[in-house]
């Protein structure tokens, strides 16, 4: 005989102001099987919890219904309370009187009646609840880091230094990401490569880190602590175990005019190449799309002939490897809009209108001009340069709604670098607002204005056109009664919007993580869980979540690494046992369930006779993979699958309880 306790919470005014909680508790007393019923202002408070514990003991309750807020909010709280009073926690259920009743209805007698019916449903369910015990799963203490930019590097090093294994996957031939392309970094103006390259080398040499460059994630299965990742290792066409990185091949390759990704298109590279001199690994790959050998059926092959170590291997094929990992950190970074995006700035037809990233390459000692600011069209040193902020950002009409966050700072830095290199030059920045919120950021911008005399003009540029070799930049100064400002510039730098990587959507689908309207990966909670995704065991760091600068990326990377380390500090994980199970006696072995299971959790099990011969095959649920979604239950034709805690019987009892003597009153 069931002895159910009902605990009705007012949730302060949240429920109490709309539902007559005392009346609900009173009505619940009469429900069959209810041994005790009471209402209280805050059931989740300490006195509220004590009240439940004492009632369980005093009235010898066999089940508990807490009628309060959403189970998402407090189910763990109340199940813990039940457990502390000696009751199996899964014999405690919640009726949601807040979201399902008080928040969506006006104060009325019928609202109170609905609340009572919600309680009745749960009472009927709890009567059929059985004690359940949490599932324990082992943790594979290896992390997969996708993306080898500064965020990925920091994450990998932090995890590796806490003693765990890391597998890093980078799609391009070298790690380093956008940071390796930068000249000097704000607000300290220290050289980007100088601070980054030691970290890159550390990654390559760390005993706990396995690095796969020129590789991409193919697929990811499994769940927190127990993922299986398939990684595609793209054919490098060079055997890196033999190659000594002498560079002979790149120097002799007859194809030389491929736009250089590392120099943001400002230079060219050969078909067999190392992206930049400090690359890690410092060994080349063949870009097969541009290589004559691959384009013209084996013609050329010069690199193979001259390679002193015989490392060139045209026959290499893409390879797939599968690794077991316990956690994944996504650090795939961001992209920027190109200059061809802007109609009023010439659709990209003017060579001397460049992006911020291209300016970084011009200003970088390792860049195509060896750090001299020279304009792309004729190599002249620009005497008058214009920087335009919010190029595509804060532009709902054509670009993106949001502020890309990093542009104000890097444009101030660009203007400053330019003034340091071209003393006689004039630099102007067109801006709408200067967003310099960060440690010593405001001071940095003021330095550009006050010490380096950068001309800041408040107003958006309407149009740029070319005239007699000059770029005419038309704007106004809105602080001067909208006085027209027309600058005859030699070069224009657009602070183009930071946008999500084009592949982010397909990666999100492989990982089963969500993304926002701009295709940036979504964090689990904007404030309290900023480095986790909604999929347990998958974290985020860096600009793949939103454009951010180096300090922010690095902080987030360390945050993600600490989440991984915390996870790896346990030997096994505890999971809710609310998963599916199969009745072997009735399963007909149609395996429809197997075809719909999104978690690949259903296997085939052979039922054998005593002599070992197979009688038939039935479905079997892998408790490690099953997430209890119930899709298989809905599809099973012989009704042989059920879910712990949500069995057919329990759900049926809930629904049928609504057909009672009071039903007629609602009609």
């Amino acid at each position: 005989m069931s002895r159910i306790g009902v605990f009705v919470c007012h949730c302060g005014e949240n429920i109490g102001a709309t539902v007559d909680c005392a009346e609900v508790a009173k009505m619940a007393k009469d429900f069959p099987g209810v041994a005790f019923s009471i209402d209280y202002k805050y059931m989740c408070s300490d006195p509220g919890q004590t009240l439940i514990k004492e009632a369980i003991k005093e009235h010898n309750l066999t089940g508990v219904v807490v009628a309060a807020c959403s189970p998402r909010m407090h189910e763990p709280t109340f199940r813990k309370v039940a457990a502390e009073a000696g009751l199996n926690p899964y014999l405690c259920e919640m009726a949601n009187l807040r979201e399902h009743c008080s928040w969506v209805h006006y104060k009325d007698k019928s609202t109170t009646l609905k609340a009572a019916e919600l309680v009745r449903m749960l009472v009927e369910k709890v009567k059929l609840n059985t004690p359940l015990y949490p599932i324990k799963v082992p943790v594979t203490k290896t992390a997969l880091v996708i993306g080898g930019g500064i965020a990925g590097i920091q994450t990998a090093l932090d995890i590796a230094n806490s003693g765990h294994k890391v597998i890093m996957v980078e799609k391009s031939p070298s790690i380093g990401g956008h940071m390796s392309q930068l000249s000097e970094t704000f607000p300290t103006l220290d050289c980007s490569q100088c601070i980054l390259t030691p970290r890159m080398v550390e990654v390559a040499q760390h005993p706990n880190i396995t690095l796969y460059t020129y590789a991409e994630l193919e697929s990811l299965d499994g769940f927190i602590g127990n993922f299986k990742a398939t990684i595609k290792l793209k054919a490098k066409s060079v055997d890196h175990s033999v190659c000594n990185g002498c560079g002979e091949c790149s120097a002799k390759c007859p194809i030389k005019k491929i736009p250089d990704e590392f120099n943001a298109g400002l230079g060219t590279r050969p078909a067999i190449y190392v992206p930049f001199p400090q690359a890690v690994p410092n060994k080349p790959v063949i870009d097969r799309d541009n290589c004559t050998y691959f384009r013209k059926n084996g013609k050329c092959g010069l690199c193979e002939k001259i390679c002193p170590t015989k490392a060139i291997d045209f026959s290499q094929k893409d390879e797939f490897i599968t690794v077991d990992v316990g956690a994944v950190v996504v650090t795939t970074g961001f992209d920027i809009k190109g200059t061809d995006f802007f109609p009023e700035y010439g659709y990209g037809k003017y060579k001397d209108i460049i992006t911020g990233l291209q300016f970084e390459r011009l200003a970088s000692a390792s860049g195509p001009t060896l750090g001299e600011i020279r304009r792309p069209s004729d190599g002249k040193i620009p005497q008058n340069i214009v920087f335009i902020s919010c190029a595509g950002s804060r532009d709902p009409a054509k670009g993106i709604d949001y502020c890309s966050k990093i542009c104000c700072m890097y444009l101030a830095k660009h203007a400053m670098l330019y003034k340091h290199k071209v003393h006689s030059g004039k630099a102007s920045v067109f801006y709408m607002d200067i967003r310099a919120g960060g440690k010593t950021y405001e001071e940095f911008v003021r330095r550009a204005i006050e010490e380096d005399e950068v001309n800041y003009v408040r107003g958006r540029v309407s149009r740029i056109y070319e005239k007699d070799g000059k770029l005419i930049v038309k704007g106004v100064d809105t602080l001067l009664n909208s006085y027209p400002v027309e600058i005859e510039a030699d070069m224009v730098v657009l602070g183009t919007a930071g946008i999500a990587n084009p592949e982010s959507e397909s990666l999100a689908q492989k990982l089963h993580i969500s993304y926002d309207q701009y295709h940036f990966f979504a964090e689990a909670h904007p404030k309290l869980r900023p480095v986790e995704t909604n999929t347990a065991g998958i974290m985020l760091a860096g600009a793949c979540q939103f454009p951010k600068d180096i300090p922010d990326s690095v902080s987030q990377a360390s945050g993600a690494a600490s989440k991984v380390s915390a996870l790896f500090s346990q030997n096994e994980l505890t999971r809710d046992p609310l998963i599916a199970f199969v009745n072997k006696n009735t399963c007909v072995g149609c395996f429809m369930c197997q075809s719909v299971c999104p978690y690949l959790a259903i296997e085939k099990e052979k039922i054998k006779a005593k002599d070992g011969s197979v009688i038939r095959e039935v479905a079997k649920i892998n408790p490690g993979l099953c997430q209890g979604c119930g899709t298989c239950v809905a599809l099973c034709r012989s009704k042989s699958i059920d879910i712990n805690g949500y069995s057919h019987k329990q759900v049926y009892a809930e629904v049928m309880s609504l057909f009672n003597e009071r039903s007629l009153e609602y009609v």
């Binding site: 919010c390 009409a397 670009g399 709408m432 107003g459 309407s462 704007g475 027209p484």
Partner: protein, 193 residues
């Protein structure tokens, strides 16, 4: 908090009237100045386009009055450059159309704009009586309204010689229909008042 749209505030604030009448939301403007930077007429205007929007945003009656009395609204050529570049898609030409008719309604037309208004009026009265544009009639009417009697006397003879001016008005058959369209619109306007 949003200002409530009731009859009282509607009477007070031009920006709410504009929202109601044209659907354009003045508050979208964040004062980047791109409209002004691209405006071919900015040099001639007494209030620059972005400042005009800012003035309307404030809801200050003095500033609203200045807007209605400005030359800006009459100088706007509806070239649509501002609208096609506006990052917030504020349809400034549409707002200018509204401000012009509101300025006429309130008898606030800028003195410097009287020539422009005179030209528009002569144009429409020609259309009302003829159905189509009749340049000689238009210019005659415009001159009578503005006393710019000598303007364009230098181009007129060449126009005639080039066959570009018609002496006879291009009357359409159902002229009365056109006049009735003008009358019905006037009636409607008076009803709305």
């Amino acid at each position: 908090m949003h200002t409530e749209l009731n009859a009282e505030t509607l009477n007070l604030n031009l920006k709410h009237k504009i929202k109601k009448d044209t659907g354009e939301d003045i508050m979208l403007c964040y004062q980047c100045g791109k409209c002004t930077a691209g405006c071919p007429l900015n040099d001639e205007m007494d209030i620059s386009p972005n400042q005009l929007l800012r003035m309307l945003q404030t809801e200050i009656p003095d500033l609203e009055e200045k807007v209605l009395k400005s030359s800006t609204i009459w100088l706007c050529l509806s070239c649509e450059t501002c609208f096609s570049r506006c990052p917030k898609e504020v349809d400034l030409p549409k707002i200018m159309d509204y401000l012009r008719s509101e300025s006429m309604r309130q008898n606030s037309v800028n003195k410097k704009a009287s020539d422009i208004v005179a030209f528009h009026r002569s144009f429409l009265s020609t259309v009302k009586s003829v159905g189509r544009l009749y340049e000689i009639g238009l210019i005659a009417g415009y001159k009578a309204r503005t006393f710019h009697l000598l303007q364009d006397v230098n181009v007129a003879p060449t126009m005639l010689l080039n066959g570009k001016l018609k002496i006879k008005p291009p009357l359409i058959k159902n002229r009365s229909e056109i006049a009735k369209i003008f009358d019905r619109i006037k009636e409607l306007e008076e009803k709305e008042k």
